[in-house]
């Protein structure tokens, strides 16, 4: 089970209304390499991963949900005071007529989230390699977001998130090595 903790993992400061930036950030909300995809992927892979990796998938999945909440906070605050005209100018006219000021699990191009973005292969090495790739793709996305954004407060939070992808990737790589060591271990039954 999960217990809600009423705080963000890292502070999110939003000073200006900027629906254009919010649109870009949706890539990490409902996009293929976004936080929702990551959280759901790891949580679902836990059941068939070797015991020594279950804790890692559980904790990283949980952290991804905390990142999802940070991205949601950014998108919500960047758009909450935007007029329909501002939403339209930012390319969020279609989003506005369907969702108003609500958030939705779309990517930056407005394509809704699909479970087809993620996989669970039931093969530990295949799953962990996918997880490493997912972290690297998310890291790259955060880099492009930082490059395209001129908001110093948002960029501070994005840099934190980018660094977390690095740490997760490193832990997944170590998990792969742990499994490889088991493979070559000579066990006499």
């Amino acid at each position: 089970m999960w217990i809600y903790d009423k705080k963000l993992q890292y502070p999110v400061v939003v000073r200006d209304t900027n629906p254009r930036l919010a649109k870009y950030l949706m890539e990490q909300y409902g996009g293929a390499d976004g936080e929702l995809a990551a959280a759901l992927r790891y949580q679902n892979q836990r059941y068939t991963i070797p015991d020594k990796i279950i804790g890692l998938l559980t904790d990283i999945s949980t952290e991804e949900f905390a990142h999802l909440e940070m991205i949601a906070t950014m998108i919500y605050k960047l758009t909450k005071d935007a007029t329909p005209e501002q939403m339209k100018e930012a390319g969020l006219g279609e989003h506005f007529v369907s969702h108003g000021h609500a958030l939705f699990y779309n990517n930056a191009a407005g394509v809704p989230f699909t479970a087809a973005y993620i996989q669970a292969k039931g093969d530990p090495i295949a799953d962990l390699y996918e997880d490493i790739a997912a972290e690297e793709k998310a890291r790259a996305t955060y880099q492009w977001l930082i490059d395209i954004s001129d908001d110093p407060y948002i960029n501070d939070s994005l840099r934190f998130l980018r660094e977390r992808e690095n740490v997760h990737s490193m832990r997944f790589r170590e998990a792969v090595e742990m499994l490889k060591e088991d493979q070559v271990k000579k066990t006499i039954f």
Binding site: I3, Y4, D5, K6, K7, L8, Q9, Y10, P11, V12, K52, I53, G55, L56, D59, I60, E63, E69, A72, T73, Y76, K77, V167, H168, R171, E174, A175, M178
Partner: protein, 80 residues
């Protein structure tokens, strides 16, 4: 949110982050005794800060008892 509350919240965010980070590390370094000790210290410290915050501003999770006449003084994170 007052400046004092924001500061203490920030301190809790840092303390909890240390726990998360050492937890992840220990999953792939289960034999690291120094890391295990660090995790224990960080968890103990985070618990202390949380207790302090919740005593002043109310519960952050449903697992902390809340007196019926006390409202939660922590805003939703996206309303700060």
């Amino acid at each position: 949110m007052s400046e004092e509350q924001r500061k203490l919240m920030h301190e809790l965010q840092i303390a909890d982050f240390n726990v998360i980070e050492w937890d992840l590390y220990m999953h792939t370094h289960p034999d690291d005794l120094e890391g295990c000790q660090k995790l224990y210290e960080k968890t103990t410290y985070a618990k202390k800060i949380r207790k302090h915050y919740e005593a002043l501003y109310g519960p952050l999770t449903n697992l902390t008892p809340r007196p019926c006449d006390q409202a939660s003084c922590t805003p939703w994170p996206w309303q700060v």
